[in-house]
């Protein structure tokens, strides 16, 4: 047990020493932050941070690429953060970037892992004085208007997109018959809204029946297995498959192909990943919806950059939690979405809110 005490002592001394070293270093973040007034950062002082779940899916990879392109436009670099879909890790990373450096000139463009993750992110950014833009997920009662550093929350009307693809699906199966739905991770707003959209569309078309709904967790492999099982269960009664994202839609496509039903059952998804766009233009998939990842990756940083450099007065923005424009992709317009491009003009301080379609109700 003496060793226990010895180690404890060593540990304590080590920590103290390090803390002392830190104290004599470049000065703590708090004092630096206090010296720099908001909205008056020099352009080169601005630190751009983009945070997404991971770089291993095309959508989020494209998002980060959009962020890079904006950064290049203003001669800066984007710090890329990925948290592997771990809420805890996301919070840890956010806290860490907010704990050091010139926080007042930091700009965060964040994809929160879930609704619940947004609250601590904006609260901490507000406390540290960093500009933050969040996208997709936020609890309904949390409003950017209550914060002056949380510039905006951008999301897409999941109900609308769920409904859009549902309509496309219903049209594709000729207005009647059975369909099945593949849901996303159940405790996400996206999964719920999109499914609500499907239900709304079904309400308008009583002749279309929802045969079954199961969750495949937004996962391609799970969707594959699940679709096979559903095909066994319902057989030819399935005319169409509604998937809450493209990964699951692509999994379903593979299941159809394995069952020799490729092209005979309509499939729709959301997200417009490259494979899905290819499938849409190839005719095996009916429709998908694009939120334009590269734009999302750039726009958040652009908003923060404009605010930090004083070109955007946050208090004058009319709606700071808004739905952004999304694009239904069908065979007709698939070609123009095949290679996603960013238009630098959209990132000008004056054009930041051009894509807003309305406030989040």
């Amino acid at each position: 047990m003496t060793t226990f005490r010895a180690t404890l002592a060593l540990l304590t001394t080590g920590t103290l020493l390090l803390t002392a070293c830190g104290g004599t270093g470049s000065g703590s973040g708090a004092t630096t932050a206090a010296q720099a007034p908001g909205g008056a950062c020099k352009p080169e002082e601005v630190k751009l941070i983009g945070q997404v779940r991971n770089q291993t899916n095309p959508y989020e990879a494209a998002w980060l690429q959009g962020g890079d392109e904006f950064a290049k436009k203003v001669s800066l670099t984007q710090q890329r953060l990925t948290y592997d879909g771990e809420s805890a890790k996301q919070q840890e990373q956010i806290r860490q970037v907010l704990a050091t450096g010139n926080v007042r000139c930091s700009v965060l463009n964040v994809l929160p892992n879930g609704d619940s993750d947004t609250t601590p992110i904006v609260k901490q950014a507000q406390a540290a004085g960093a500009y933050v833009v969040t996208q997709w997920n936020k609890p309904a009662d949390l409003k950017p208007a209550d914060y002056d550093k949380w510039i905006a929350h951008i999301t897409y009307d999941g109900k609308e997109s769920g409904k859009q693809i549902a309509h496309a699906l219903i049209t594709a199966i000729g207005g009647n018959g059975g369909i099945v739905a593949l849901q996303g991770i159940l405790d996400t707003a996206a999964a719920k809204d999109r499914f609500a959209g499907l239900q709304a569309a079904l309400a308008e078309h009583p002749e279309v029946t929802l045969l079954d709904q199961q969750t495949a967790d937004f996962d391609r492999a799970k969707a594959l297995t699940l679709t096979k099982t559903l095909l066994t269960k319902h057989g030819d009664a399935i005319k169409g498959i509604w998937a809450a994202n493209d990964d699951m839609a692509l999994g379903a496509l593979q299941a159809l192909e394995a069952a020799g039903k490729s092209g005979k059952v309509a499939v729709v998804g959301i997200d417009a990943v490259p494979d899905a766009i290819k499938a849409v233009s190839g005719g095996t998939m009916t429709a998908t919806v694009s939120s334009d990842g590269p734009w999302q990756g750039g726009i958040g940083l652009a908003m923060g950059y404009c605010a930090a450099t004083g070109q955007l007065d946050v208090s004058t923005i009319p709606t700071r939690a808004f739905f952004a424009k999304q694009f239904l992709i069908t065979k007709d317009n698939a070609a123009q979405f095949a290679t996603p491009k960013v238009d630098p003009a959209e990132f000008e301080c004056a054009n930041l809110f051009k894509r807003a379609t309305g406030p989040i109700s």
Binding site: T3, L10, G25, S26, Q96, A99, T100, S116, K192
Partner: protein, 330 residues
């Protein structure tokens, strides 16, 4: 005759001293590994050593430390608890939904509920003689399903965050309260292990369960207590997470399972049981947090971050485990 005995005793004591010195070296390894890692990251990114940054790191390590602390007791018994992360998620959901009714009493209520959940797993383990790996694997899926059902598969916002504010503030504007909670948890558990027979019994069961059984130790009770402690700290970890996210979610802590186990092992507690200590888990949680947060902070590209994490975690364990206690490595 007496002289001979004294000489023999002295010689024995000298012989015992030599392995003791090696023991100190082995004991200090996790701390050394932690400091080396911190130094390496600080070279890559000097801002990491700022007071605010270090305290934030400690803050980040707090929930993981609490989560791993109770599980350490189970590991010391020679078992494993894979359910802690799912239980912490469930705790977050329960806490968020109980706060309106129970207010400040919600946290102890949730901790108690999780302790009961842990104890139930322990009971199933000892009564039906099912390996702890399987019981807690089943528990993992069960608790997360309960969390999904209880929350309606949605984030449960906390209408009023005051009952948990104590777990996420900065004392004196500087020291994160969660760090103190984590330290208190570790100290409390360490004291429990040190000053009550529980520690001796847990170790004895971990080292040599047949001997412990025939010495008349209350094996079943000790194991159930170990699992209950593990459940309780999982509940507390869930509360810490709720305090910082202001809501509960059915998958909130799920991703912390492997980091928690890693924290225990990296700290130098033998996964085979018996050998280890709670302070080791504290250091282990520090190392794991450095790896999880520090790497991306130091600007390592996400793809290479994962590779580096893999290399470093194996390296850290290789440095910290006490091989003299392991005849066979499994």
């Amino acid at each position: 005759m007496a002289d001979a005995a004294r000489v023999a005793g002295l010689r024995g004591r000298l012989a015992a001293r030599v392995p003791e010195r090696r023991h100190v070296v082995v004991t200090a390894m996790p701390v050394t590994a932690f400091l080396v890692l911190l130094a390496a990251l600080a070279v890559a990114s000097p801002a990491l050593l700022e007071t605010g940054s270090l305290l934030t790191l400690a803050d980040s390590a707090a929930p993981l430390t609490v989560l791993a602390a109770g599980a350490t007791v189970v590991v010391l018994c020679g078992g494993i608890d894979l359910s802690v992360a799912a239980l912490a998620s469930l705790a977050s959901v329960l806490l968020a939904s109980w706060v309106p009714a129970l207010s400040g009493a919600a946290v102890p209520a949730v901790v108690a509920a999780c302790a009961v959940a842990g104890a139930v797993q322990g009971l199933v383990h000892v009564a039906f003689r099912i390996p702890s790996f399987v019981v807690t694997l089943g528990g993992m899926t069960l608790w997360s399903a309960v969390a999904l059902l209880a929350s309606g598969a949605a984030t449960v916002p906390m209408p009023d965050s005051t009952p948990t504010d104590w777990a996420f503030t900065r004392l004196g504007g500087l020291v994160p309260s969660a760090v103190l909670v984590a330290l208190a948890t570790v100290v409390a558990l360490a004291a429990l292990m040190r000053f009550t027979p529980l520690g001796r019994w847990v170790r004895a069961i971990g080292h040599a369960e047949p001997a412990a059984r025939l010495a008349g130790l209350p094996i079943a009770r000790v194991k159930v207590i170990a699992f209950a402690l593990s459940g309780a700290t999982a509940g507390l970890a869930g509360a810490l997470l709720v305090a910082r996210t202001f809501s509960g979610a059915p998958t909130l802590a799920d991703s912390l399972l492997l980091p928690a186990v890693a924290a225990i092992v990296v700290g130098g507690t033998a996964i085979t049981g018996g050998h280890g200590a709670l302070w080791r888990t504290l250091v282990g949680a520090g190392i794991v947090t450095l790896l999880r947060v520090g790497l991306s902070y130091a600007g390592v590209d996400a793809a290479y971050e994962s590779i580096l994490y893999g290399v470093l975690i194996v390296g850290a364990v290789a440095l910290t485990i006490d091989r003299s206690k392991l005849s066979i490595v499994k």
